[in-house]
């Protein structure tokens, strides 16, 4: 595996060298160039010649944003309830309050029973 890795590294390096040579010594760079385009030409080109491509690109970007936000959505219960709206959120809040109240009541009853048992044991000891 390591040998394969070294061979691929050497291959990529050789590819870069060939690419450099071909790119730098190509005949097109010897041809006489003209002046660089201006920003105005760029803007005109985008909104005239490439207008459909620009619109398609905007749609693509919008789709990408929607897809990305769908992929990273959080599926925790609280977020799902928030998505469902106010009624579901209030119902969940009421349920949570009721559960808390019930848990407190159970804790109070159990502590009272424990105190009663403790009193009974101390009376028996006396």
């Amino acid at each position: 595996m390591r040998a394969l890795s070294v061979i691929s590294g050497v291959g990529v390096f050789a590819f870069i060298l060939v690419l450099l040579r071909e790119a730098m010594e190509h005949a097109m760079w010897n041809m006489e160039g003209s002046s660089a385009p201006t920003t105005l030409e760029f803007a005109n080109s985008i909104f005239d010649e490439w207008s459909i491509a620009t619109v398609v690109l905007g749609v693509l970007l919008a789709m990408a944003m929607v897809g990305a936000s769908y992929l990273v959505r959080d599926e925790r219960l609280v977020n799902l309830l928030w998505d469902l709206g106010d009624d579901a959120g209030q119902a969940a809040e009421a349920l949570r309050t009721e559960r808390t109240r019930k848990a407190r009541r159970v804790a109070r009853v159990s502590s009272t029973e424990r105190e009663t048992e403790d009193d009974g044991i101390s009376k028996e000891e006396e």
Binding site: A36, P37, F42, A53, L71
Partner: protein, 100 residues
């Protein structure tokens, strides 16, 4: 002004670095960065040619490529986040399934 052939050479070097990074790294974010490096190397070539020939189409191609790269990165990072939430790693060796 810098000779366009040198700019193209820089583009080739950047492309090679990106290619090597894509081959040799297993961290998905590093691979994503290397892919971006290769895209930007191609953009550099477009800009060099556009400046040399005075043709604005190279700039337009570059703008389109940058926008597509932005969309690609958004989707890629979202996939990585989704992968991290399910597998708790972003190593590409762990990404051997198309479903969770």
């Amino acid at each position: 002004m810098i000779e366009p052939s040198w700019i193209v050479a820089l583009g080739a070097i950047l492309f090679g670095i990106g290619l090597l990074g894509t081959f040799y790294h297993k961290n998905a974010i590093v691979v994503l960065m290397c892919i971006e490096l290769m895209l930007n190397a191609a953009n550099l070539n477009f800009v060099a040619a556009a400046s040399h020939y005075g043709d604005v189409d190279g700039w337009v191609f570059t703008a389109i490529a940058i926008a597509i790269a932005a969309a690609e990165v958004a989707i890629g990072l979202a996939i990585l986040l989704s992968m991290y939430s399910t597998q708790e790693t972003i190593s590409l060796e762990a990404a051997n399934k198309l479903r969770n």
